[in-house]
């Protein structure tokens, strides 16, 4: 058995037929599949250790607490955080961004301040900043995306004029879920720091795909979702530098995060408890720790290389289809393992419905990126997004299916 076949064997869901054809799962940008080890971690927890954390002195509660805090430590190591207390468990990327957009923005933004983001953000890293800017009387500015097909990526030259001392926060995506563009996160953080701005990296698309080191990146906050990196849904992370998190007012209050409560008021524990009111999502946090273990047995360098290979194969084969419009980096330029494309005469939804007949799972739509789509003169694209268990043969299935669809609609 080849390495790839052995890896695929770890994912029970991949071995099924859809509409009578072998499943070809190319919607990893939306969510990844789960290996047996992660599913087993969930089952093991509920069958053996389930208990509430941080408050019981009995054996199960201690086991659950150890496993939960062990997961925190594991994740800190996964992103090379200086301290496990810098890892806050949340529901996912969206909740993590909202916490910063409420708590941090409320405490630090004044009228006239600027929040800077980019034109390629997922709605999750856009709408919360619009809300925060409105609430504070601040302005939201955008680093432009260059090129008619966004092939030029971010306009780094524009930073000279955009990054003024009025910029208090720069929030940007590491990898665009729509374009496949890989942003120079370390450079963006360095430039922002030079004007005293705080940085937030949306690592939703990069976390399970490449080595991530928050200290080398030099960011203040980094956010991601477990479900895009082989973990369960409903769990994600807000990483923040300890100095920031310990000063940040809690977004939610309640049990577990307080030191002393009187009828008159209460005060807060330091991070991480300060930001985790109520019974946390213990099971999914533990399974996310298992996902880190699993991904590191594959190796993130190897995953990045495989993504890159599949991205390049897909670019070459898709570019050869007449009439196709591919957005994001051009053929031969660096890109993440995903490709978004469109045809003038066939709508993305018709493509997705047809491709499903061939067992293909694709994404069609605006990818939670409406302003960027509008800028590119599009309403939707079809996206194929890869992970380490995908094969080059699956790209052949995709290309054959697209050619058949094109023939059907265009003749």
């Amino acid at each position: 058995m080849s390495d790839l076949a052995r890896t695929r064997a770890d994912f029970p869901i991949l071995h099924q037929q859809v509409n009578g054809k072998p499943l070809v799962y190319l919607d990893n940008g939306a969510t990844s599949q789960k290996p047996r080890a992660v599913i087993d971690a969930l089952v093991h927890y509920y069958e053996r250790d389930n208990s509430n954390v941080h408050r019981g002195l009995h054996t199960l509660s201690m086991r659950a607490t150890d496993a939960y805090e062990g997961a925190r430590t594991r994740i800190a190591k996964f992103i090379h955080a200086a301290d496990p207390a810098e890892i806050i468990f949340t529901r996912g990327t969206t909740e993590s961004i909202n916490i910063v957009a409420r708590s941090w923005a409320q405490a630090h933004l004044k009228p006239g301040d600027v929040i800077l983001t980019t034109e390629m953000e997922h709605h999750s890293n856009l709408v919360p900043w619009q809300q925060a800017a409105k609430a504070a009387g601040a302005t939201l500015n955008y680093i432009p995306v260059l090129g008619a097909d966004a092939e030029g990526g971010l306009d780094y030259a524009a930073l000279d004029t955009l990054l003024t001392p009025a910029v208090k926060l720069l929030a940007f995506t590491h990898i665009s879920n729509t374009l496949g563009t890989v942003n120079d996160a370390a450079e963006l953080c360095r430039r922002a720091r030079a004007v005293g701005a705080v940085t937030l990296i949306d690592a939703a698309q990069s976390i399970g795909h490449a080595p991530i080191d928050v200290q080398t990146l030099g960011c203040d906050f980094l956010v991601f979702s477990g479900h895009k990196m082989c973990g369960p849904t409903g769990i994600g992370v807000l990483y923040g530098r300890r100095a920031l998190l310990d000063k940040l007012a809690p977004d939610e209050t309640g049990g577990g995060m307080v030191v002393t409560v009187t009828y008159e008021g209460a005060n807060w524990k330091p991070s991480p408890e300060r930001h985790e009111a109520g019974t946390p999502n213990v099971a999914d946090a533990i399974a996310l720790g298992a996902a880190c273990d699993y991904i590191d047995t594959i190796g993130r360098e190897a995953i990045a290389a495989h993504d890159h290979h599949l991205g390049a194969v897909a670019m070459e084969k898709l570019s050869a289809i007449p009439g196709i419009r591919i957005i994001g980096p051009r053929l031969g330029q660096p890109r993440a393992g995903l490709v978004s494309f469109g045809f003038p005469d066939v709508h993305a939804h018709d493509i997705v419905t047809f491709a499903d007949e061939d067992g293909l799972a694709l994404r069609g739509g605006h990818h939670c990126n409406q302003p960027l789509m509008r800028k590119l003169g599009l309403t939707s694209t079809t996206r194929a997004s890869f992970y380490f268990y995908n094969t080059a043969q699956e790209i052949d299935v995709l290309v054959a299916s697209l050619r058949r669809i094109q023939k059907f609609f265009v003749g």
């Binding site: 709508h347 939804h349 018709d350 007949e357 409406q370 309403t379 939707s380 059907f408």
Partner: protein, 151 residues
């Protein structure tokens, strides 16, 4: 191609998708309503020229999948001369067709959409233009979205 898929993409639908009827703004329109499907970005505007509560002329404009565009196009060929009550009745029949796959005998080309019922995710596509038309008839200033109307 599977039977379900050829049921969905009937010749009538493909034809309306390739050569939409009554497409573009209607200069004589006295009512307009916009419809959108926020989950996929499909858009459809319907322009009505009303005489009392009778549609004397209509057109549509927008962008979206073959199902949504063909449905809006076909709808414009069916509603000319209809009153508001007749339009509502025709929509109820159409809704029944796309959700159950059962078409009344006398229902003409609308029956081509019977195949939609095996693809529940596409029912919203088929009804988008109709929602906009019904809103335009009511003079409803709100855009019709597939999220505020029940399919």
């Amino acid at each position: 191609m599977s039977a379900d898929l050829s049921e969905l993409y009937q010749q009538v639908i493909l034809d309306h998708n390739r050569r939409p009827r009554n497409r573009g703004k209607l200069p004589t329109a006295n009512r307009v309503a916009h419809g959108n499907n926020p989950s996929c970005g499909d858009e459809c505007s319907v322009y009505l020229q009303l005489d009392g509560d009778r549609i004397t002329n209509l057109s549509f404009d927008g962008s979206g999948c073959a199902i949504s565009q063909a449905s809006a196009s076909l709808m414009t060929t069916q509603l000319k001369g209809k009153t508001a009550a007749e339009t509502q009745k025709l929509y109820d029949d159409f809704h029944h067709i796309v959700t159950t796959g059962e078409a009344p005998e006398d229902i003409s080309d609308l029956a081509a959409f019977a195949g939609v019922h095996t693809f529940p995710a596409r029912i919203k596509c088929a009804t988008l233009g109709w929602h906009a038309a019904l809103n335009a008839l009511k003079g409803d200033p709100l855009p019709a979205t597939t999220e505020t109307h029940k399919d």
